[in-house]
């Protein structure tokens, strides 16, 4: 039963990490640039939830759930701003220019959050409720189930969009060969803007989901960008399913090892495992898919 309990906790954490990694890898594929602000965007999504929560009418049955679409839309707007300020003006410069500009954007977000919210940890409201459910002896936090359900829904939505729609085909074509996509009539700049909006919205959703169970501080993004980076490296650089699988593996590993040893040991072992993967299988666990950007 304890194993099952840990599995649920790991899946919930992994589902949130998966949204972070998904947003990270979508932007990476579309622009060939690493968005180092992704972790800080998660933090921004969490604090946005914290800031908006008092304004929700309390008489509604599920006020927390109402925050999700609001955070998604506002964060998508922030993604457009990020692209316009930190990517588009530098897109023809060497990649390091975008690395630095996204790091700068992340620092601006961190400092802005510190000024507005202070350094104390904050909690966003739960999506469904703050209680627990007893499923035949297995006690599960309602928020954990909400995290898994929302992340699954968003990831399924992303898969549907990219796999089944004409917009998704254009987004994938842009990610695989932007010049050729333009030669097929695809408005590549618009596709890049949409990708930034999607990636940032996913980061915001992850922030809102995590900010209830794990709290949020202005500096929380640093750890999350590393997790996203590790997930994408483990899953295969550029692989969308690999990023999701990598994120789930990281979280299960983190929760499992933390329960037996401790969280710092789990983190240490996670980075050690990353080093082993980089040496033994640099293409990641889903390397072939990554090479062809499935």
């Amino acid at each position: 039963m304890i194993t099952l309990q840990l599995l649920v906790n790991g899946l919930a954490l992994g589902a949130a990490y998966a949204l972070v990694a998904l947003g990270f890898v979508l932007v990476l594929n579309a622009t060939a640039a690493v968005n180092f602000a992704q972790g800080d965007l998660v933090m921004a999504g969490g604090l946005l939830g914290v800031a908006l929560a008092p304004h929700l009418p309390g008489y509604l049955p599920l006020p927390g759930l109402l925050l999700l679409p609001v955070v998604l839309v506002l964060m998508a707007g922030l993604g457009l701003l990020l692209a316009a300020a930190a990517y588009l003006p530098l897109r023809r410069r060497p990649p390091v220019a975008v690395f630095i500009s996204t790091i700068a954007a992340g620092i601006i977000l961190q400092n802005g959050a510190s000024v507005l919210f202070g350094p104390e940890p904050r909690a966003a409201p739960p999506l469904l409720g703050g209680g627990t459910l007893d499923l035949g002896g297995l006690v599960v936090a309602e928020q954990s189930l909400a995290i898994i359900a929302v992340a699954a829904l968003l990831i399924a939505g992303q898969q549907w969009l990219f796999g089944r729609t004409q917009l998704g085909r254009r987004l994938r074509a842009t990610a695989q060969d932007p010049e050729m996509a333009r030669a097929c009539g695809v408005p590549v700049t618009a596709m890049i803007l949409i990708t930034f909006a999607l990636g940032t919205a996913f980061a915001g959703a992850a922030g809102l989901l995590l900010a209830n169970r794990y709290f949020v501080t202005p500096t929380a993004g640093g750890d999350l960008i590393l997790k996203a980076y590790i997930a994408v490296t483990i899953g295969g650089w550029g692989s969308v399913p690999g990023a999701v699988a990598g994120a789930l593996l990281i979280a299960l590993f983190e929760v499992g090892v933390s329960s037996v040893l401790s969280y710092p040991v789990a983190l240490g072992l996670l980075y050690a495992t990353l080093l082993v993967i980089l040496v033994a299988r640099p293409q990641g666990l889903f390397g072939e898919a990554a090479r062809r950007r499935a």
């Binding site: 004409q166 695989q176 009539g185 695809v186 499935a294």
Partner: protein, 235 residues
Amino acid sequence: MSEPLLQVEGLTAGYGGALAVDRLSLSVAAGEAVALLGANGAGKSTLLKAILGLVPATGGRVRLEGAEIGALAPERRVRLGLGYVPEGRRVFPGMSVRDNLEVASWLDRAGRAQDLERVFALFPALAGKAEERAWRLSGGQQQMLAVGRALMGRPRVLLLDEPSLGLSPKLAGEVFAAVCAIAATGTAVLVAEQSAARALSAAGRVVLLRLGRAVHDGPVDTLPAEALRDAFLGG
């Protein structure tokens, strides 16, 4: 001869300070297939890219059906009627054959389905591989896919860059037969090719390039052999 669909007037383009296309003019009419011949580095690929806007032109004009398109972004030019088959195919490797084709269409679902059928009729080898990832296709099939992808935009003018490169003579023949069939439907075709014999067999007119300039422009049967030799071997 009908009014040209594509008119290039005094086009100049290059990379950095190096001039690859030098004040070049040519035109292609509806239903006409024009071969663009020249040695490596003659400027064939750069000319096609400059017509499409992938390489910025530093001078001259590009007109499509009489309208100046030289200031437009490549995607706008494609939407207005240019189609492009690049050297080396450049299909989207992780996407299925169907998705590679559909991404280049701007029609609704029914229109896309109709055009897919047309492409599969032109290239039956692709029909059975619609759900196959493009990287799994052979070189010849990828070339067919690249041509089919360009056709999905219903181009009035089709630009092809080295369509026989790396293909067996049989497959190259199939691709050129398709090019002839496309021209026969009224599409203007401009095909850059190193294999002179193959291009001349498919084209009605030839433009010979040397160091970025057109040194001959006329019907295939008026092309002097020495001009062809000089363009490829120097002299």
